[in-house]
Symmetry: none
Subunit: 226 residues, 2 copies
DNA sequence: TTAAATTGTAATATTTCTGTAACAAAAGAA
DNA sequence: TTCTTTTGTTACAGAAATATTACAATTTAA
């Protein structure tokens, strides 16, 4: 799944077209033709991104936007505003009201797609694909494969989950307790030093000679991917 | 490739919608907004099927149709007529003039797709492929046959469904639960370990010596086709 | 109806993975 | 330096997951 996108736009033809195209790209899409209803459905649908028309029959796009930014659950929802030609002077106003990007109608689908990807990449990089990557490291969550410099690497289940964990937030340092909580199934009790051993195993697997060490030890704090 | 479809229809919105959907299904699609031009482009495009609007700005659908039937190269081109509601009395006239099927607007895409498949199956069964393939593996869903490297392989019903399942999403790793849910009829209760046995049987059947193993075991995750 | 094929399960064998302990090495602190 | 703390490394036994086999029950075909 690439992510969920909600559309609030009153021109049904645009909605259909965009929806179809996005679904073709692997997004899950839902839509609403006006602002008030849209706001309600939004909360149920929990999208990763909102495409919002500037001019709506009831509320204006800006009003919808403000509403969203006021809602603690939706505060961080990325929004791309759809504006008609000639409304461009309002750009700045739109961005001020908390829009992440805007696009002028008529737009090509490619342009829209590019912007969606850009915005999503900023807000939630994992949605764009099921691959987690960091430098020359790639982890495919669907096929359950790991590559370093395009060479496949064999990992045991725990090492796989461990690497997956680090790849979600590279560079960040995690304590052994944090690692334990997330990577190990709940309610198991393992020694904190066990992690050292798994780190060692992971290191051994992903390290390639002449390539730099990818896992950093932070004494008295934990480990991180660098 | 599933085949080429040409559309002659003057409502651009319908054309767009249908075209997108058909392309999503794997057809190659081209279109024209009026009859005369459509006839010309038809000959270049060489479609396997024509979607023809009843009411066109210049020629009527029937005229286009008659034209086609008179042309020795296009004589056998299957045609599905698109009619608006209320024109239904004309059905018979349409079919008499050499139309293979007709569909009334507004129609759902599913309905259209079903009719297209039906017509194509009659006129050119090879186009509607019900084969799933992956590398040198081929599964014919209609004839219920499986081939590896052009040699037919005998499978039991369950192994067949299992392989069919893997072929729909090759490379993707499925858990035993996912496999159970999809491959086994609902509401049956079989041990999750039973799958191992069927995997073994499937492996035994589709493996050929000197050829690589096709089913990959991903410890603690499941299986996939590779 | 009989024979053959198919299916699910249990029992057993095999493989792979995991956690721990013990010791070595490194980094800080005194 | 020397001591203390933290991390690295290794080996290994037990655990866990998968493979394989055999068999009885059931379905299908002859």
């Amino acid at each position: 799944m690439k992510g969920k996108i909600f559309i609030i736009e009153d021109e049904a033809s645009i909605v259909q077209l965009v929806q179809l195209n996005l679904e073709k790209e692997g997004f899950v899409v839902s839509s609403s033709l006006n602002g008030n209803e849209g706001l309600k459905e939004l909360k149920k649908f929990e999208p990763n991104l909102l495409l919002l028309d500037w001019m709506l029959p009831d509320l204006s796009g800006i009003d919808v936007c403000k509403n969203i930014r006021r809602d603690s659950n939706l505060k961080n929802l990325p929004i791309i505003m759809l504006t008609a030609k000639g409304e461009e002077e309002d750009k700045i106003k739109g961005l001020e009201s908390g829009v992440d990007d805007y696009i002028t109608k008529p737009f090509s689908f490619n342009e829209l797609h590019a912007r969606i990807k850009a915005v999503l990449r900023r807000s939630d990089p994992n949605i764009i694909s099921n691959d987690l990557t960091f430098e020359d490291l790639k982890l495919d969550r669907i096929e359950k494969r790991v590559f370093r410099a395009d060479k496949e690497i064999q990992l045991g289940p725990t090492e796989f989950r461990l690497l997956e964990f680090f790849l979600i937030n590279p560079k960040r340092v995690y304590s052994r307790d944090q690692i334990l909580e997330t990577v190990w199934p709940n309610n198991v009790n393992v020694e904190s030093r066990t992690i050292d051993v798994h780190i060692r195993r992971l290191r051994q697997s992903i390290n390639i000679k002449d390539k730099k060490e990818l896992i950093r030890t932070v004494r008295s704090s934990g480990y991180s991917l660098v």
